[in-house]
Symmetry: C2
Subunit: 261 residues, 2 copies
């Protein structure tokens, strides 16, 4: 089976695009296999900072899509790279989970458990508490810390609904500090897209962004001049009024439609 | 010593106006004593929902201003009264501390530890966690719960600085649910002022609002036609540019200036 689109590189969102929970979505395995067989380049891109890239690679492999760690990009990885370039070795306080802390350490940054820091990193954190919010406030007030975030998502889809995502932590920190969390490096930020394009080694015009969310996946791709492919296996329903607003280049039912019929 | 203002009723903010931490501010005891000796009416009004009205009365009494429980109004009390009128006996999930839960129970409401509720009450909560944020989200998504808040304060002054106040919890809940927390009953809401005026038994035009915060104490008083007295013992510094914007009727150095010289 052959791919019916001409793009040399493909950036795939994960949740709602390639899989949902522990199930591959229709066509995911066949489409990725065909892309690889044809020598196209691809990378997987998630906004979720609560697993490591190795976790994602292992999950994809387990579900039937053999994947190397460096084929996966997530917002923790992008943030750690970005911060290491902006402020090598900086002390940071992390509102986030252990995989994010590990990415920061791997990038030479210094996560510490207190307010005496240069940066407060704000992420999706299922262990968020008032104490963490207070530490962020003291870091800003007493130490002039800057605020940087992983991803702007309001909620994260789970098998029986949705749970609070990083937008909750970001809003709380912004409200009490009076400072913006900026940048937020994840989709739709061009910071994330630049990492994906660098990984593909291709210019924007030869790549497609494939995802289920209009305001992140499609918005980011369009803003940078990539082809955009909206897949209807996730959050966006067929006939959603917002589709006309964002105007993806292609709309497909599932990744099966990447293949020639 | 006599009071130099003509108003029959006085509403006093507490933190930064009557006391700071465990210290009465200058003139507080003498001014309250003179008001009582002259038969003026007064009430104490705090936005803080983390102590009970009995706690405040006990604190004032301990510091030298004998105070009965029903002379104190705080945002927990106002919220419980408001909700009991709007939705008597309603089940509610509380992001808040035990004194707020106790006020809700006393007003006949039913605080429960789960998302199957009519209302989510959002307050200053030093025990705030991700689990509470998730429960609020599920209450809204699954049960159509409405959101109501105690107070809009960003931070709460403490002896060595400030700590996050209810604005942090409110912003987090609004960000993940996509719904507004409305009403927020505490200052500067007219909901709080109505309770204070009812307690004084006087019309707006015969009362003064005395406080240290322009955007809550003074804003609320002016909006309702009370005389406003800004006292410079708290958050507002002399010469603060915002004073000209809010235009309190009187500006005093401390509560000593309520007395004739």
């Amino acid at each position: 089976m052959r791919i019916r689109f001409p793009y040399r590189g493909f950036i795939f969102d994960l949740d709602g695009t390639v899989y949902l929970g522990e199930q591959l979505l229709p066509g995911a395995k066949a489409a990725v296999g065909a892309l690889r067989a044809e020598g196209r380049r691809l990378t997987f891109l998630s906004n979720k900072p609560i697993q490591s890239r190795a976790d994602y690679a292992a999950k994809l492999t387990r579900l039937g899509i053999p994947t190397a760690v460096d084929e996966v990009i997530n917002s923790s990885y992008v943030l750690a790279r970005y911060l290491a370039r902006e402020a090598a070795g900086a002390a940071c306080y992390v509102i986030g989970e252990p995989p994010l802390v590990a990415e920061l350490r791997a990038a030479g940054l210094r996560p510490v458990d207190g307010p005496a820091v240069d940066y407060v990193v704000v992420a999706f954190d299922r262990t968020f508490t008032y104490r963490k919010l207070d530490t962020a406030l003291q870091a800003v007030r007493r130490h002039g810390a800057r605020l940087i975030g992983t991803n702007p998502d309001r909620t994260c889809p789970v098998e029986d609904g949705e749970i609070p995502d990083a937008a909750g932590m970001i809003a709380a920190v912004e409200a009490v500090t009076g400072q913006r969390v900026d940048p937020i490096v994840g989709k739709p930020s061009p910071i994330t897209l630049a990492v994906a394009l660098e990984r593909l080694g291709l210019p924007e015009g030869e790549c497609a962004m494939v995802g289920d969310r209009l305001e992140t996946d499609i918005a980011m791709g369009k803003a940078a001049g990539l082809a955009t492919v909206l897949v209807l296996t996730g959050i966006t329903r067929p006939g959603d009024a917002a589709i006309a607003q964002w105007r993806p280049d292609h709309i497909i039912e599932s990744l099966e439609d990447l293949l020639e019929p």
